[in-house]
C-alpha cells in the first residue's frame, strides 16, 4: 500500500482483491424545499482483509456512506459493488440476502433485540439465511465464545454490561462469516475499558482475515485501523495509511490503570 494513498484506489489494494467498492456515490436528501447533499461524489475501495477507518466530523457524510456501502441505503447516484457484484440495482430482498451473507453490522447503540437472549440474538442472521436449528445454535455459541461470552448465552441484553452487549453484537455480525464487518462508532457508548476490549476483538477479527470498516469521529479509535479515509462535507478529503497504528490489546493495561485511577 502506498503511503500517500490515491483517492482512486484500485492501486491501493496491491495484490489484494477489492471487497467493496463505491464509485461516484452521491446522496441527496430532500428536506422540504432544501436539498441536503450528504455525499457529493465519493469513490472508495476497500481491500480484502484490511482494516479501514472512515473518519470525519458529524455531518461529514460518514454514516450515510456506511449505510450505503452496508446496503442499508441506496445512493442517489453512483454505484456500489460487493465482491465485484454490482448491487445498486438490486431489489430490496436481494439486498437483504447480500447483507445477510456478506456484511456484518456493529452499531453504536448495539441494536440487540431486547427480551431475546444473547444466543438468540446471535442466531438471528442465521434464521434468515435458513440454517437449521441445531447448526444455528452451534455456530452462535462458537461466535459468542469467540468474543468471550461463552458463559452468557442465556442472558438478556439488559442483564449484560454495555461492553458485553457490544460483544454480542459483534458475535452476531461475524456468525454468518461475512467478508466485511461495518462498525459504526462501536465504542461510542462504552467506557474506556470496554471500548478497548471491543477494539481488541475487532482487530483480532481483522487479523483472521475479515475486512473491518470503522466509522468514527474519534482520532484514537480511527488509528486502530491501518488506513484512514477522511470525509468532510460529503467528499473524501484524504486517504492515508496510519503511521503509528494502535493495538488495543497492548493498551489494555494502561487503560485499566487509568480508569481505576479515575474511579479511585
Amino acid at each position: 500500500m502506498s503511503e500517500t494513498g490515491g483517492i482512486l484506489s484500485a492501486k491501493a489494494c496491491d495484490d489484494a482483491r477489492v471487497v467493496l467498492e463505491a464509485r461516484g456515490v452521491t446522496k441527496t436528501y430532500h428536506l422540504g424545499e432544501v436539498d441536503v447533499h450528504a455525499l457529493r461524489g465519493v469513490d472508495l475501495s476497500i481491500c480484502d482483509g484490511r482494516m479501514l477507518s472512515l473518519m470525519g466530523p458529524s455531518g461529514s457524510g460518514k454514516s450515510t456512506l456506511m449505510h450505503i456501502i452496508g446496503l442499508l441505503d441506496r445512493p442517489s447516484e453512483g454505484s456500489v459493488s460487493v465482491e465485484g457484484e454490482e448491487v445498486s440495482q438490486m431489489a430490496p430482498n436481494e439486498l437483504a440476502a447480500v447483507r445477510n451473507r456478506r456484511i456484518g453490522f456493529v452499531f453504536q447503540s448495539f441494536n440487540l433485540l431486547s427480551r431475546t437472549s444473547a444466543l438468540a440474538n446471535v442466531e438471528l442472521p442465521l434464521v434468515y439465511s435458513g440454517v437449521s436449528g441445531s447448526e444455528r445454535s452451534r455456530r452462535a455459541r462458537a461466535a459468542l465464545e469467540r468474543v468471550g461470552l461463552g458463559d452468557r448465552l442465556g442472558h438478556l441484553p439488559n442483564q449484560l454490561s454495555g461492553g458485553q452487549q457490544q460483544r454480542v453484537a459483534i458475535a452476531r455480525a461475524l456468525v454468518t462469516e461475512p467478508s466485511i464487518v461495518l462498525a459504526d462508532e462501536p465504542t461510542g457508548n462504552l467506557d474506556s475499558v470496554s471500548g478497548v476490549d471491543v477494539m481488541t476483538i475487532l482487530q483480532e477479527l481483522n487479523t483472521h482475515g475479515i475486512t473491518v470498516v470503522l466509522v468514527t469521529h474519534d482520532d484514537t479509535t480511527a488509528r486502530h485501523a491501518e488506513r484512514i479515509v477522511r470525509l468532510r462535507d460529503g467528499l473524501v478529503v484524504s486517504d492515508e495509511a496510519v503511521a503509528d497504528r494502535i493495538w488495543a490489546a497492548e493498551r489494555r493495561d494502561a487503560v485499566v490503570e487509568e480508569a481505576g485511577g479515575v474511579q479511585a
Partner: protein
C-alpha cells in the same frame, strides 16, 4: 425462514406482552363465544320444536284463522278483522270429514288455581273429547273428560305433572276439588311429565272441556282446529276437503297446514332467527378483528427498531410480513379456540333453561372466521412493517 421459525418469533412476541395479548384476544373470544352460544340456542330450540311437532304424529292437520299462506305480510296473521273459528265450525268439519277422523277445537289461556292455601298461575289447553287422542299424554291416574262433559260444560279438570306436584304434593289428586279462577272444579285425572313443547311447558298446564274454558276466559272463539287423519295418506285429501268446507264461510281468511308444512314454517322462521343471531354475534367478532388490527399497528410502530435490526441482518420483506401476520393469526386463532371452549361450556350451562346444541358447523364457522379475521386484519399492519426502510427503522426512537 420457515413457518415454524415465524411462529416461534410470533409466540415470543405475544408472550412478551401477555396482558395486551390477552385483552386483544378477548375481543375474538367474546365474538366466537357469542357465535357458538347463540347458534347453539337457535339450533337447540329448532331441534326441540321440530321434535315436539314430529312427536304429535305425521297425520295431524292444523287450521288457523287468518291467511298465513301468502307468506309474511300477506293478509297478516289473524288481524283484528279476521273472523275467528267457533265450536260450531269444528262440529261442521267433524260431520263433513267423517267420524274416522278426529276434529278438535283448541283454546288456550291463562288461569289461576287454588287448593287450600296453595295458589299458582298456569295455562289451560282445552279441547273436546277427542283432545286426548290427538295430543296424546299418558294418564298416571284418573281419566280424560268425556263427550257428555264437553257438551254439558262440566267443571272437570286434568292436571299436568308440574301443577299436580305443586298443588297436591305426595297425594292422589283424583276426586279432589280445586278452585279455578274462583270456581270449583273436580280433578278427574293427571298426566305424566312430558317436558317442554311447542306450546310451552306442557307439564305446567291443565286440561278441561273447551266449553268450560270459553266461559272461564270469556270468549266464544276457538284459537285453532286440529284434525287427526285416520292414516297419514289421508292428509292431502283432507286438506282439500277442509278448504272446501271452510271457504264458503271464511273465504281466504284461514290457513290449513299439515304437520309437515307446520314443521317447514317453524324451521324456516327459526333458521332465519339462528342466522340473525349468528350475524349479530359475527359483528362482535368483526369488532374483535378491528381490535387485533389496532394492536398490531401499535405493535408494528413500537417495534420499528426491531424490524430495522431484523432487516439489517438480512430479513426479507416476506420474513417480516409473515412474522406479523402469524402473530395476528395466532392471536385470533387462540382467541377463537378459547371462545369455542367458553361458548360450548356456556351452552352446556344454559341447557338448564334453554335447549342448546353446539353444532360442528357453528364451531367450524367460528374458527374459520376467527382465523380469517386474523389474516384479514393482520395483513395491513404486517404489510406496513415489511415495507419499512431499514435505515428509517434503525433510526427510530
Amino acid at each position: 425462514m420457515n413457518l415454524v421459525e415465524s411462529m416461534r418469533i410470533a409466540l415470543r412476541a405475544l408472550n412478551a406482552n401477555k396482558v395486551r395479548s390477552a385483552l386483544t384476544m378477548l375481543g375474538v373470544i367474546i365474538g366466537v363465544a357469542a357465535v357458538i352460544l347463540l347458534v347453539a340456542i337457535g339450533t337447540g330450540v329448532q331441534d326441540e320444536i321440530t321434535g315436539s311437532i314430529e312427536g304429535l304424529g305425521s297425520n295431524l292437520i292444523f287450521i288457523f284463522a287468518g291467511n298465513f299462506e301468502e307468506g309474511p305480510g300477506g293478509g297478516g296473521p289473524g288481524g283484528i278483522s279476521t273472523r275467528q273459528f267457533s265450536i260450531e265450525d269444528a262440529e261442521l268439519l267433524q260431520r263433513r270429514l267423517g267420524s274416522e277422523h278426529a276434529v278438535v277445537p283448541v283454546i288456550q289461556g291463562p288461569l289461576s288455581l287454588r287448593v287450600g292455601n296453595r295458589t299458582m298461575r298456569t295455562t289451560v289447553a282445552a279441547g273436546n273429547e277427542n283432545a286426548g287422542e290427538v295430543f296424546g299424554g299418558d294418564y298416571l291416574g284418573g281419566r280424560g273428560y268425556r263427550r257428555s262433559e264437553v257438551s254439558a260444560g262440566a267443571r272437570v279438570i286434568v292436571l299436568g305433572a308440574t301443577v299436580r306436584d305443586r298443588l297436591f304434593p305426595n297425594q292422589d289428586p283424583v276426586g279432589e276439588t280445586i278452585s279455578v279462577n274462583g270456581q270449583r272444579f273436580t280433578v278427574i285425572g293427571h298426566v305424566a311429565a312430558q317436558g317442554g313443547s311447542l306450546t310451552g311447558d306442557q307439564d305446567n298446564q291443565v286440561y278441561m272441556p273447551i266449553t268450560v274454558a270459553q266461559r272461564l276466559i270469556g270468549t266464544t272463539d276457538v284459537g285453532l282446529i286440529a284434525v287427526k287423519a285416520a292414516t297419514p295418506d289421508d292428509v292431502e285429501v283432507l286438506q282439500r276437503r277442509i278448504r272446501q268446507v271452510l271457504s264458503p264461510r271464511f273465504g281466504d281468511e284461514f290457513s290449513v297446514f299439515s304437520q309437515e308444512q307446520t314443521l317447514g314454517i317453524f324451521q324456516q322462521i327459526l333458521g332465519t332467527l339462528t342466522f340473525m343471531l349468528a350475524g349479530i354475534a359475527g359483528i362482535s367478532l368483526l369488532v374483535g378483528g378491528i381490535g387485533i388490527m389496532n394492536i398490531m399497528l401499535v405493535s408494528v410502530s413500537e417495534r420499528t427498531r426491531e424490524i430495522g435490526i431484523r432487516k439489517a441482518v438480512g430479513a426479507r420483506t416476506y420474513d417480516i410480513m409473515s412474522q406479523f401476520v402469524i402473530e395476528a393469526v395466532t392471536l385470533s386463532v387462540a382467541g377463537g379456540a378459547v371462545g369455542i371452549a367458553i361458548g360450548a361450556a356456556g351452552a352446556r350451562v344454559l341447557t338448564q333453561w334453554v335447549p342448546t346444541e353446539v353444532t360442528a358447523w357453528a364451531v367450524a364457522l367460528a374458527f374459520t372466521f376467527s382465523a380469517g379475521v386474523g389474516i384479514f386484519f393482520g395483513v395491513y399492519p404486517a404489510y406496513k412493517a415489511s415495507r419499512l426502510d431499514p435505515i428509517e427503522a434503525l433510526r427510530y426512537e
